[in-house]
Symmetry: C2
Subunit: 283 residues, 2 copies
Amino acid sequence: MDDLETRELRYFVVLAEELHFGRAAARLGIAQPPLSRAIGLLERRLGVRLFDRDRRGAALTDAGRVLAREARIALDAVAAAARRTRRAGDPDRPLVLVTKAGASHELLRALLDEVRVPVEVLLCEVGEQAHRLRDGQADVAIMHRPYDDLAGFETEDVHVEGQVAIVPAAHPLAARESVTLAEVSDVPGLPIARWPRLDGTYPDGPGPEVRTQSQLAQLVALGLTLLVIPASSRAWQWPEHVAVPVTDAPDVTTVLAWPPGSPSDELVRAARNAKALAADRSA
Amino acid sequence: MDDLETRELRYFVVLAEELHFGRAAARLGIAQPPLSRAIGLLERRLGVRLFDRDRRGAALTDAGRVLAREARIALDAVAAAARRTRRAGDPDRPLVLVTKAGASHELLRALLDEVRVPVEVLLCEVGEQAHRLRDGQADVAIMHRPYDDLAGFETEDVHVEGQVAIVPAAHPLAARESVTLAEVSDVPGLPIARWPRLDGTYPDGPGPEVRTQSQLAQLVALGLTLLVIPASSRAWQWPEHVAVPVTDAPDVTTVLAWPPGSPSDELVRAARNAKALAADRSA
DNA sequence: AGCCCTGATACCCGCCGGGTATTAGCCTCG
DNA sequence: CGAGGCTAATACCCGGCGGGTATCAGGGCT
């Protein structure tokens, strides 16, 4: 019943990513034998085989996949504990707000104007907010339902809006008043871009591979793909882009999200005010 | 930037509970000097003072309070990782369902009849479900909104019901057809019982101190207190008890809750069926 | 067959975590 | 006012464990 140590979990996670003892050891800055021993010990302690070893590397077992997920969560929690404690010791620490670059710009602006405590804005790429929040790099995030993974956070709805298709200005669709999801989901010559999975690999398909929003924006400008996003995502509006409302796309809700228990009262208050403000303006 | 080890966090948490180096060390099964050194090292690594020491013990600083909360979360996550991994290695592991003893009995029965995978039921006291879920002792919980802390879990609403006041049969209120919250909130001679806080201390007040539902049930039977609970909490129905509907109490929603990401598809399916079943029966 | 690449084993060493003994404050009480 | 008895901190030693190098073992390759 002895507890696991974070060192073991770190070792395991790296090995689960590399699936190769030698490379994992190198990344960890240790030699291969200690890693073998540590993993073997971990398996004996848990009473479970975590990797199937064979001649050309290691592969995760079912139990290993469970630990890979759980270990990442646990390590994030440990890192969050350290970071939040350090910041708690700083008397005039700012609140760190993380958001996708370019999304909900108006809201962000209203929020920052409205809020009365120091706020530091941290911009990140798509899907990274949850991780930043979980490991303590940020106190609160602006996220979007149903796109982002909100599991495990407390949330406050701030804004609801429709979606638009961003298409190259030169494309016939750019002239339309509005389109439907069916019309943009399978356009010949404009395949949907593919984002990497959590493990860094890409799903199969005809579309171009992208890692960042800027890459994607450029691909749209070049006439190589299109996308459907919330109407307020101003970062996408290049001169070569045209935004066409999508009539039947589900509404997107902009939410403020934060880890359970960690209070960000001031920001929630500000968000409610900003929300009321936005409602007034649209009325 | 070096990571914290779970050993340090365990030491810290125990010390944060005991607020006394000697006693904490004894509980940890080590001597006092190593504990002093470990905590000192932790403080230097975090660059933050965690305890104010003085002649009669130690007291948490603000930063210390932050770490106390975060460390518990992190340790739960680590323990959960170990437990879930062990269980993942067991091919015919049962699903562990945790619920408050006596609550939502009908639903539980319907659920167990409906479900087709082995399920093990773990009964616990009020407010413990979240902890069991967080540290991996259980896979899924039956909880009640707005009473239980659902932060950090995925949920599926199963049942909505009104609340009743449980009063001693001998009390005048027992004869009533229904009552209001105002009528039962401040009854002379029947003060509301006090539950312990997370740290084990009790809030001030006139009511009796209780730790378990059985204690509370007995106190009601003795005519010393009353309480307001969901209508379906059968465990409360002693012969000396009378349940009187409370007309203006907020409805209580019974929910199935589980940690984000850990799939319990079969149980959710069963819950939906049980819900439909219950709806049929009441219709 | 020989080689090479994989991970596992054997063995040694140095550090760090834990032990005992002692010190240093500070309050209390005779 | 000084002695005693709390507290936590310091000093110092030791053993185990984590990490290193050297080597082995097995299974595809050419």
